[in-house]
Each structure stands twice: as C-alpha cells, then as structure tokens.
C-alpha cells in the first residue's frame, strides 16, 4: 500500500487492520511514536495524517492509503518546537515528548496559553505538570 511517510512516498505491505502505530514501529522502523495506552487517551502515539493530529493506536493501516503521515522522525531533530522542548525542560522522561510535539505542531507559532492547553488536552504527561511544556510550545 502506498502512502507518504515523512515526505517520502513509501510502499508498505501490512494487514489493513493493523494499527498505524504498529506499522510505523515495526514495518517502518520508526520507534519515535510511542504506545502509552492503546485507548486514545494518552496521546503518546500522536502523528499527523494530512496535517491533523491523530492517535496512531486508533487508526487502521488501510485508512492512510494515499495520505500524508508525519511522525516525530519527520521533524529532523532541529525543528523550533524540538529545540524549545529541549531548552525549557519540556522533556523529562521523554516518553510523551514525541506525541506532545506532534500535537503541538498544528497549533502554529507562538499560540496563546489557552490554545495550548486546549490543543494538548489529549496528551498526558506524568512528569512535568505541563508547565514546562507550555513554556516550550509558546516559545516555538
């Protein structure tokens, strides 16, 4: 099945009902997308499909046919959001960080605190109390 993964066209053979999360981690070797619950509650597996944040644990692989999927690896490591998370202590244990950054991406540059809190309500972090994450997202 053909889709666009981090700006490259890829052809991946996997069961159409396999979770996108597992396809990314196992077939594509992209382990930056994490599993925290499998229920769509924690947001650790957040990736973008056609620029919209989704939980990859709730997406059947078949549904990304011809779509653009962006994972944390697609940001390259030096994206302003990534730099801001590093500088502001937004990443502690780091397991929620890729999902948090992917959920923050659609919020655009320098979003308001209210927009950040609402936009990240689907991403759980147990380390930071979110304060450092707000500082990072608002800075980027």
């Amino acid at each position: 099945m053909i889709f666009t993964l981090n700006a490259a066209t890829v052809d991946v053979d996997a069961h159409p009902m396999k979770r996108l999360l597992d396809v990314l981690r196992e077939e594509c070797g992209l382990t930056g997308t994490k599993e925290g619950c499998g229920e769509g509650e924690c947001g650790a597996c957040t990736v973008l499909i056609d620029d919209a944040a989704v939980c990859a644990c709730l997406v059947p692989f078949a549904q990304v046919r011809d779509a653009r999927v962006t994972t944390i690896e697609g940001l390259g490591g030096d994206h302003p959001l990534q730099r801001a998370f590093a500088e502001e202590g937004g990443a502690q244990c780091g397991i929620c960080t890729p999902g948090m950054i992917m959920a923050a991406l659609p919020l655009g540059e320098k979003p308001s605190l209210r927009k950040v809190r609402e936009g990240l309500a689907g991403n759980l972090c147990r380390c930071t109390g979110y304060e450092a994450i707000y500082r990072a997202v608002r800075k980027a």
Binding site: H15, M17, E39, G40, A52, V54, C57, A62, A121, G122
Partner: protein
C-alpha cells in the same frame, strides 16, 4: 494491546452504494470509520466481529447542509468539522459544545457523529443534543431509506433499530427556536467519559435530554410537561429524579447522578431565563 489482527478481514468499498451492496450480501460486516471506539475494543481484546467494512473514504457521507428547512449532517462528519461548521454554529450550537468536550484534538479529528450514534453508549456526548433537538436518524440499505427519530432509535442498552444491512447515513435536525443549553459532567476536565450529560432547549415546551442516567439516552417528557404547564423548577426537579434510572458503576453513583441531573435542570432553567 490484546487484540489479534490476523484473522480479521476488511472490505474497502469506494462508494456508499458499494458499501450498501456489500452489507446486503454479507450482514456480518461491521462498518468502521474513525475507529475511536472500535479500536479501543480491539485493544482490550473485546472485539467480537472479525469482518469489517471501511467507510472512511466515503466522502459523500461528510456533507453538512440545509435540506429543506432541516440541518442535515452526514454520518462521517468528524467532531472537528462540526466545530468548524458555520451552519452548525448557527443552527445547533449545543452540538458544538458537545463536540468540543468529547475528547482531545486527536479524537476531534477522527471521531464521527454517525459513529457516536452507532456505538450507542448511554454516555455518548452528542446523543442528548440530538435527542433534545428532535433529530431524525437517516438509515439506508441497498433497497431503501428510512428515518427514525433519535428518541426511538435505541431499544435498550447499546441496542438500536439499525439493521445489519443498514448504515446510518445522516442526521436531520428540524428547525427550532429557543435557547440551547449543554453541560457535560465527566470524570475530569478533558478527555472524560460522562457521568451525567444534559442538553436542553428553552422553548414553550422545554426539551430536556440526558445521557448516562439510563440504559440509553433519554428525553424527559414528564419533566418537560410539568415545566410547560408552569410548574415551579423545584417540582420539575423532583419529577426528573423519578423519571431517570441511573446506576452505580465504576465512574459514579446512582445518587450522585440523580442529584447532579436535578441540579443541572435547575442551572439550565436559571441560565436560560
């Protein structure tokens, strides 16, 4: 993740007609779309079906439009599209309130109105809105289309009149006037399942619908009638407490649900004066 993928089958129709004929030929097919409920069941290993029909790419079910004087919302409309729709904002703002509170951005982008109806949870957040708005569920099979009021759609806990060869294709909301009101009481401020959820319309005959207080979403005809006849709100609240049948579960208690439902009625009444 306890779900087993091997052995599951997925059909991928490219149009509504194709989907309906697939369902006619094979009633064991279970439709799936945003998967925000279905894949949770897959994760818990509680998915009973093994054969699925992927509706996600059927864009003809994503239309929000005025149809005669009614507002018609396609079954595959996501919460995100509802939140962004000017038409919905104008006609049914309480649906926007419900959609906003249903989950985080990730759920907004995937969850669909038709899915919320088909899933049939008594805690489904859009259902009281649709019930209070006198919405009609439009169902279609390969042979026919039929319309059933949402209040008659459910026949019991997670049971409905929807047949195995039918799809929910849209919801129609007739035009109405009166102040709309919505309140969700969940286990936390975001990403929560409702303990009590209420939608209401302040019109000469008020319309009041509640979720999570009975096996299905319910309207409260006796409470509505009392208010229409000018009963004091305290009396309407007493009637409401008798009219609902909440239970204790892991999320809340019967007593809490009864009391809070009554308080919400009072708040609705005070805020829509």
């Amino acid at each position: 993740m306890k779900g087993v993928i091997a052995g599951l089958e997925m059909r991928e129709p490219s149009s509504l007609d194709e989907a309906l004929s697939a369902m006619r030929n094979d009633p064991s097919l279970v439709p799936l779309a945003g998967c925000t409920d279905l894949y949770v069941a897959l994760n818990f290993g509680t998915l009973e079906s093994t054969r699925f029909l992927n509706l996600w790419s059927i864009d003809e079910l994503r239309v929000i439009e005025k149809s005669n004087d009614a507002l018609s919302i396609g079954a595959l409309t996501t919460y995100k599209s509802i939140i962004q729709s000017k038409l919905v904002r104008k006609r049914l703002p309480m649906l926007i309130s419900a959609a906003r509170e249903i989950g985080g951005a990730q759920i907004h982008n995937r969850g669909t109105l038709g899915g919320n109806i088909a899933n049939g949870s008594p805690a489904g957040d859009t259902l009281p809105v649709l019930a209070a708005a006198d919405a009609t569920v439009v169902m279609r099979s390969a042979d026919a289309e039929r319309r059933v009021p949402l209040t008659q759609f459910y026949t019991g806990y997670r049971k409905s009149v929807l047949r195995a060869d039918e799809l929910i294709v849209a919801v129609e909301i007739p035009s109405f006037s009166g102040k709309q009101w919505f309140r969700k009481v969940g286990t936390r401020a975001a990403q929560a399942i409702s303990k009590v959820v209420m939608a209401a319309v302040r019109s000469p005959r008020p319309r009041i619908a509640l979720g999570s207080v009975a096996p299905t979403v319910i309207r409260l005809p006796m409470t509505e009638g009392a208010l229409e006849e000018g009963a004091p709100i305290q009396e309407a609240q007493r009637i409401l407490m008798d009219e609902i049948s909440p239970i204790d579960d892991m999320r809340s208690t019967e007593e809490y649900r009864r009391r809070v439902a009554s308080n919400l009625l009072g708040r609705f009444w005070a805020e829509t004066e």
